[in-house]
Symmetry: C2
Subunit: 187 residues, 2 copies
DNA sequence: GTCTATACACCGATAGAC
DNA sequence: GTCTATCGGTGTATAGAC
């Protein structure tokens, strides 16, 4: 099993069980490697495994979400590609967000910088697309925050209510919602 | 220290550290009671403590949020009272939602029914207000889900980014947003 | 009702053979 | 690079004195 496949299994466990709930016994079982073998690949132990998982997730987000946002097509089309890839990243709402799981865990502080950077990068990259689409800067920033916040909230609902409908609805509406023309007192 | 004060301390710990991250040693320190004393009050241990915290939280939500939604004033006013009390419940975004924390933990299944019931009750009660305000039923249900989802997502952002601005903004806009007249292709 | 002391399982982590 | 065996520490939970 390659390092990437190992990390994929570790990722599944951390997303499902959280940081504290993911024991080395579980990681060992999921990967088919003994605990000592895991330590061969990640000498600093569980924390290093979670960091590797975070880094791998950042790479996937970069490749599947940020890259498309920074593309050269129409803003609406770029955002649609993003929502498609967001749907894949979270298995249509059936898998939790690793960042949220870690942010709500006791070990939050261990990963705080990585979580903060990842979310800010996503928000800022999305806001930039909105600016290119003619939306005023601070308005673009707020809308980008709103988008990420809705995705996060809908994932919480999906997990809590066993219902992915709100997640799918949020993603479905997101492209048009983000680009709609500003209306006075529109809300 | 009364039972209510004990539960208030337990609540703080579970919200801050999650279920697995909240150890009996921590609960002992926070309450000033020895571990064995905690077992006197909660014979089934940590799980019973978390259930008691959940129940106490349900009572607070019932009294401060649901009761006002079921009140007899104008819908807009009732929703404003709700957002005011939501702001208090989450200390203006500085404290996480207990339901979300538990939902993302390994012990999710232990509390799944309680979490599901609490969220559904909140959503349905809010949707009922919107129906009374003249909004069509399924539209009201969706908007109520959207409201809860935005609150949850903004709390994730608050915790992850150390920034409560999105939370405050979400709450601020919520009353008008929930009651705005339906517009074709408004989004 | 609160305490000290302790049982016992499991945690993360390591040693050392192969 | 993987394993078995095991370490020290800590987790939840209990016994029993006061």
């Amino acid at each position: 099993m390659s390092r990437e496949e190992v990390i994929a299994q570790l990722t599944k466990m951390f997303r499902q069980y959280g940081y504290e709930g993911t024991t080395l016994a579980r990681l060992s079982e999921a990967t088919g490697l003994g605990k000592a073998s895991l330590y061969h690949h990640f000498p600093k132990g569980k924390e290093e495994m979670a960091q590797a998982v975070l880094e791998s997730m950042s790479d996937r987000v970069e490749a599947s979400i940020l890259a498309s946002l920074r593309g050269c097509g129409e803003p609406l089309e770029r955002i649609r590609v993003m929502t498609t890839n967001v749907d894949k990243l979270y298995s249509s709402g059936k898998q939790s967000c690793l960042l949220a799981v870690l942010a709500l865990s006791e070990a939050k502080d261990l990963f705080h910088n990585e979580i903060q950077n990842a979310l800010n990068l996503w928000i800022n990259t999305l806001a930039q697309v909105l600016v290119e689409a003619g939306i005023e800067h601070s308005q673009a920033q707020q809308r980008a925050e709103d988008a990420i916040l809705k995705i996060q909230g809908s994932l919480i609902l999906a997990r809590s209510l066993d219902n992915t409908a709100p997640f799918k609805r949020v993603l479905d509406r997101l492209p048009e919602e983000l680009l709609q023309i500003e209306r006075k007192q529109s809300k």
